[in-house]
């Protein structure tokens, strides 16, 4: 679903955030990306969401090479990725309903259908009945759940979360993660960037640890470490040839 092939990301100030990163995430997988701040987690997510572009290397998301996606096609590309942010990024001057409905309005969904799907999404995060509240009337945990509802309301195949539990206490964090798991169970590819140790211990899912812009460790759910993943070797081989 998401494949990094020897990707480098160097910012204009000269800092190299990603350096020869190769990584493959299969469709329907749920993956934690971990690492210290500055290890490249944010850059990795920014490349997937096309906020930034790779300096070198190839990134393929949902069968599309992002290098071939021009400025005008970025919006359509982003509609297949649901995004959850550490600071929720809700619009405080709109109701919960309007916040969650935004991706559907953008996609041009009809009014009736929007109402149905927004309520369904809010139901999935346990906030049905709060449609007419303002975001600031909700607790931080609830706001984060609204953010998740907005990310999944248009049923994107990929869900990306950047430190989704950064501001939450352990109990709320677990709840948020359970929501992610539920979406993963219905086939959504989920990628969570987090350095929340507690969370990592409680969720036996595949982990990718970054350090200085490289993958230094990847572990499958529960199983032992598989650093020499054959799929990745083939990918690396192809990347070197091309």
């Amino acid at each position: 679903m998401i494949r990094f092939d020897h990707v480098f990301k160097r910012y204009p100030n000269g800092r190299e955030a990603l350096s020869d990163l190769s990584l493959e995430i299969a469709a329907g997988e749920i993956v934690f990306v971990t690492g210290h701040s500055g290890a490249g987690k944010s850059s990795l997510l920014k490349l997937i969401t096309l906020i930034e572009r790779p300096s070198r290397g190839q990134l393929i998301v949902n069968g599309q090479n992002v290098a071939g996606i021009g400025r005008g096609k970025v919006p359509a590309y982003r509609r297949q990725i649901g995004m959850v942010f550490q600071d929720h990024k809700l619009l405080s001057d709109r109701t919960i309903f309007d916040n969650v409905a935004l991706p559907l309005i953008i996609a041009g969904v009809g009014t009736k259908e929007i109402g149905k799907r927004v309520r369904a999404a809010l139901d999935q995060v346990g906030l049905l009945g709060r449609e007419q509240s303002a975001p600031l009337e909700l607790s931080t945990g609830e706001q984060q759940r609204v953010g998740i509802a907005r990310a999944v309301v248009s049923k994107p195949p990929i869900l990306i979360a950047d430190e989704p539990t950064g501001n939450l206490d352990p109990e709320l964090s677990l709840e948020v993660m359970k929501i992610f798991r539920r979406f993963n169970e219905v086939g959504v590819t989920v990628l969570v960037a987090s350095h929340d140790i507690y969370l990592l211990e409680h969720f036996p899912v595949r982990r990718v640890r970054l350090e200085a812009g490289r993958v230094v460790e990847t572990s499958d759910a529960g199983a032992g470490e598989k650093l020499l993943d054959p799929r990745k070797l083939i990918a690396a081989d192809q990347g070197a040839k091309s």
Partner: protein
Amino acid sequence: MTAWLLRHVQTAIGSLGRLAQHKLATTLTILVIGIALALPACLHLLVTNAQIATGNWNRAVDLTVFLKRPTSAEEARRTAERIRQRRDVAEAQLILADEALKEFRRGSGFGDAIDALNENPLPHTIVVRPTEAYTNAANLQSLAADVRALPSVEAVQLDTAWVNRLNAILEAFQRGLLLAAAVLGLGVMVIVGNTIRLDIQNRRDEIEVTKLVGGSDAFVRRPFLYNGFWYGLGGAATAWVITLVAIAVLREPIGKLAGLYGSSFQLGALGAEASAILLASGVALGWLGSYLAATRHLRKIEPT
């Protein structure tokens, strides 16, 4: 199609609601636009009213034809009839010498002096009013020449100089009006553009989020275009009201002034066509100003 239309209506109403939330700022912006648009509108009123007023004074381009002395009343009537039958003449009024003398005696107060004269010193006079389509200088000249060539005509008096001057003045005003409209129209665009720019800065977060969840540039821009639309419409409506107020204030004194000149002229308001043009250009300028500003400034806002 209906969903698309519905979304536009929703965006338009949403934009109106947002403007209504910032009453003071919106009112000030609309007022500034209104004043800027009211200036050319008032100039237009000035020119059209001046044209109507001088239209009433068409009498002033009359030709006064003096007949030779002596000419019989019979001959004078025939001459007047010949002139009247011309295509470029609307009316030819014959004033016989005797009537003229009576009138003069009554109006001038020189009754005794006139009595002292043995004979009537006045000639027969024909006042010729040209058809309106022929009141330009060239036609008047040729009409005067033709009339002058008639056998019993002594002299033709025609004063086109001031008509020419007045027309030149009105033409200059009209040019000035165009210039003022162009400059102030540009001003309206700049005002709207700047307001939209500030609006975009204030809503930066919202724009970033909308772009993150897949909103295209056109989608993000749409509410700002509607803002420009409402600014333009509101400004044009304000300008229209300003012209009404100006007319209401000036109608009485202008009427009195016209009365002193023996005219029944009344100040007229903007006609339906001029009002429609005012509203349409307000909307167009508002829309264009916001389009340019939004296109330019929204491109620069990208999520980070």
